[in-house]
């Protein structure tokens, strides 16, 4: 039982570090694109025009979302375990729900933008 805990904690740690590497790359691409593309200000039409129907952006934001959904809940789990007196089980459940929530919201956004008909 204890050895299982050690193993799972180690895998969580590794998953968070690996997702951080993916995030670092994704965030740079995301921000650079935003700065380059957003010369005329942020608008739905502009974003939809760029990403809708484009499988490359679908894959990119899908990867980005997967990394966020792994990275953020594990980090929140650590923060909650260190700063509150909640049990490991409860914290695990709470942060898993958080991860799921972020993932569902993200999937809706990405698919929504992909399917959106660009406004010409």
């Amino acid at each position: 039982m204890m050895q299982n805990t050690v193993r799972s904690e180690t895998w969580l740690w590794l998953a968070q570090r690996t997702s951080a590497i993916v995030l670092a790359v994704c965030i740079v691409i995301h921000l650079t694109t935003m700065i380059i593309a957003m010369q005329g200000g942020l608008s739905t039409a502009e974003i939809a025009g760029r990403v809708s129907g484009n499988p490359m952006w679908l894959v990119f934001y899908g990867t980005f979302l997967a990394a966020v959904s792994v990275h953020a809940p594990i980090g929140m789990r650590t923060v909650l375990l260190e700063t509150t007196s909640l049990s490991t089980k409860r914290v695990g459940l709470l942060t898993m729900l958080l991860g799921l929530f972020v993932f569902v919201l993200g999937v809706r956004t990405i698919l929504g933008l992909y399917q959106m008909v660009p406004v010409s």
Binding site: Q3, V6, E9, T10, W11, W13, L14, T78, L81, E82
Partner: protein, 239 residues
């Protein structure tokens, strides 16, 4: 209060104690341990504190001086005094026995928990292992072996404060020296002991231990090394 007098606040009692303030004459080359000794000998014989060698070898006189953990024997008053005042408390994150004396049991138990004892692979009948001082692993071990177990890093570490079961910098520094000892055979078990939530993976790399270690050791680097070895072991299915 005249200029050559120091106002020294010293913790008295257990965890629920309070500060008592004493006036001590300032002298040249005076250490914080000199202050405590003066107070106990001439002002308050009931004061309890620990010391042995007085020269930075034994590691028993560590206390919190003006908010920072340090060896009192190697701390000159002139380097730590603030506006003629010095506040001396017991080390943090360890239970106070009385006044400036803490119970070091947890601290040393964690060395054992981190598998900090040498596991021999040979007997006295075998040849003496030849280890070159310039060997890479030996140099990594050498970088950490001068720890004298004073508890300054442990008392400084924020993670120890947040997670009472966290092994702490000193115990893991010890484990790292053994991980790099080619004569030792206990590494699989040692890595299992230092992995997990109470071990190396919880280190925030804030380096308070590095900042405060009187021996100028780098426990954060040792813990980073343990993280790498732990992950390697996990990937090989050895954890």
């Amino acid at each position: 209060m005249t200029e050559d007098m120091l106002q020294v606040s010293v913790w008295k009692g257990d965890a629920k104690g309070a500060f008592a303030t004493y006036q001590v004459r300032r002298q040249e080359n005076q250490t914080v341990l000199d202050l405590v000794t003066h107070i106990q000998r001439y002002l308050d014989p009931s004061l309890s504190y620990r010391f042995a060698c007085r020269v930075g070898v034994c590691g028993s006189c560590a206390m919190t001086v003006n908010g920072k953990a340090r060896w009192t024997c190697r701390s000159h008053v002139s380097n730590v005094v603030e506006d003629g005042r010095i506040e001396i408390r017991p080390l943090e994150s360890l239970p106070v026995v009385k006044d400036l004396v803490v119970d070091m049991t947890d601290f040393f138990d964690k060395w054992a928990k981190a598998k900090g004892s040498f596991e021999p692979t040979c007997s006295r009948n075998d040849e003496i292992a030849a280890v070159s001082p310039s060997d890479k692993k030996r140099r990594l071990a050498d970088a950490g072996i001068e720890c004298i177990g004073c508890g300054v890093c442990y008392s400084t570490c924020d993670v120890v404060r947040w997670k009472p079961d966290y092994l702490g910098p000193a115990a893991m520094n010890r484990a790292w020296t053994l991980v790099n000892d080619v004569r030792d055979g206990g590494n699989d078990e040692r890595l299992r002991a230092v992995a997990g939530d109470d071990g190396c993976l919880s280190c925030h790399s804030q380096q308070g231990c590095v900042e405060r270690c009187p021996q100028k050791l780098n426990p954060t680097m040792a813990i980073a090394g343990l993280k790498r070895e732990t992950i390697k072991a996990a990937l090989k299915g050895k954890l």
